[in-house]
Subunit: 325 residues, 2 copies
């Protein structure tokens, strides 16, 4: 067992009351891992408080227990232990991060590259496909039971963060763990349907609009798509409907780096994807964002779409021209 | 070990010279399983002849050994054993099926629902995700070595026939076997890239054209998309570029059954997909085609697009109205 795990296990065993937090705008990995760890600790007789700055987005409401998420923070001195899941740095905990970090010991479990250390005890491993995979390993190491709901949440976390086992982060262990979770009764087609097959007719129309914006640069190695507020209005959709659209420019055979520029009311959001060794998290960090080597993003509180696009293209061109090794 | 496997193993062990055939227009499962079984039998000292009616399609040329496929058939009496992989019936072997079936014993390994028996010794199991998964199990049962190239072919077969582990045919064993193959050095992102991320710019334009044809019926439970010869001309694409387009109407959240009608020079092709218990292979068989419960298809040698569409819609409406259990 690795060093970090062997430190975390006695801390969790001894704690009576545990607060589990995850990052703002939680995705299926963050929320799935959180709900699963909650179930696991509850099965060990612990009191569990699940905290996140916002309630679960409606597309994640299929995760069993998602209604147990709390958006309010009570007095923190009632907790013997805090846990942050899937947070690359403490800013990801949101507005009440200082209150949360007053809980000691504070355990951090994360798989982001470029993770910035915080908390008291850390298990950070960028070689893991997902935080869901790490929570599974933690449960195994503790000899804890994984029931159907927990398996459902962990499978959702893993399948979502690996793009259904397509990303480079997918390892032999990832697939074997997923196999174990299916053996607990989880239905892959059901969960994949919830995560990937949730297009509405309006959303498919939005996809057509967005695909029409495709721009290619650098001998088709760099692809950019854009969504405007006008397109949302025209098709009756919202930003949540653009989930996974970035995979279309990414799927072009010659593309090494793909960007999706999203115009919103208050800000401009950018999702970045890359293949192989190109590290888009470097570029995201230049703009105050973060992420992984092959998947990253950032948000800017300004509204000059053309300006953002120009600045971003300069940095992405530079990334493409830098030898990767 | 199951009965069929225990009959097949001694036959393969005793044979000196084996012909391995797969179906016309082979997909990644058919060709991957064929190339893998070829490697496995060669490693056991057998002479191996890989037969298919056509050479590998260019999008499958990434499979190691795909250049070893033979499109000509020599005198069949030189073979001690014939094997058909991934063929739901003997028609799928193509024009020379009668010559092929003169080889005895003739072994059949297949996972299609509605399989029509042929050959001398059959291992047919519609519960398997792919013929690739079956060839893996055969190799394990024979104690045969699976080298890197073989693992590469089998992983490609499995990931392709399960839509990257999204289809209902994906089992705990499927994922564990895929995990074992990764442990042999196969890179999931590399293979998924070859199979799923092979869009050209022209192909993405064709996708936009095809998505614009989307028609929904029966309270959005039935979705139909169409590609015309005009669209191919406009975008500089061919029928091969429509691979997987059927997944777009299928991914609509309310859709139970999806159809993709493809106009070609000599015929009209139809791909069908369904979710859950709706069995589209029933409808495909009415039109002389075949397939699985959730994925089937057929071809008609006529050119009346509107007529085909009307007749097909009648049958699909009927399928939707039939209680499934």
């Amino acid at each position: 067992m690795n060093q970090a795990l062997s430190e975390i296990i006695p801390v969790l065993r001894e704690a009576g009351n545990v607060l589990i937090a995850t990052h703002v705008f939680p995705d299926a990995d963050a929320l799935g891992a959180q709900l699963a760890l909650g179930n696991i600790l509850r099965s060990m007789g612990k009191g569990v408080y699940l905290y996140c700055e916002e309630p679960a987005h409606y597309i994640l409401e299929f995760l069993p227990g998602s209604d147990r998420l709390n958006i309010g923070l009570p007095e923190v001195d009632q907790f013997d232990c805090g846990v942050a899941l899937d947070c690359g740095d403490d800013m990801r905990l949101g507005k009440v991060k200082d209150d949360l970090l007053n809980i000691h010991p504070f355990v951090v479990i994360d798989h982001h590259t470029g993770h910035k250390n915080f908390g008291d005890i850390r298990w950070v491993d960028a070689g893991k496909s997902s935080t869901g995979e790490m929570v599974y390993e933690l449960a195994q190491a503790m000899g804890a039971d994984i029931d159907y709901d927990t398996a459902y949440c962990l499978y959702s976390a893993i399948v979502s963060d690996t793009g259904s086992f397509k990303y480079a982060s997918t390892t032999a262990d990832t697939l074997r763990i997923a196999g174990d979770l299916i053996a607990k009764g989880v239905k892959p087609a059901e969960i994949s349907g919830k995560i990937f097959d949730n297009f509405t007719r309006n959303r498919l129309q939005l996809l057509q609009e967005v695909l029409a914006t495709l721009a290619l640069y650098e001998d088709e190695q760099l692809a950019v798509i854009t969504v405007s507020r006008e397109m949302y209005e025209k098709t009756g959709t919202t930003a949540a409907d653009t989930e996974l659209f970035i995979n279309y420019p990414r799927s072009l055979e010659r593309v090494k780096v793909a960007a999706f520029i999203k115009e919103a009311k208050e800000y401009i959001g950018v999702s970045l994807r890359s293949k192989g060794l190109y590290d888009v998290s470097q570029v995201a960090r230049m703009f105050g964002g973060g992420g992984h080597r092959n998947a990253a993003g950032f948000k800017l509180r300004e509204k000059d779409l053309a300006g953002v696009q120009k600045e971003l293209l300069t940095e992405l061109h530079a990334l493409l021209l830098t030898p990767q090794n």
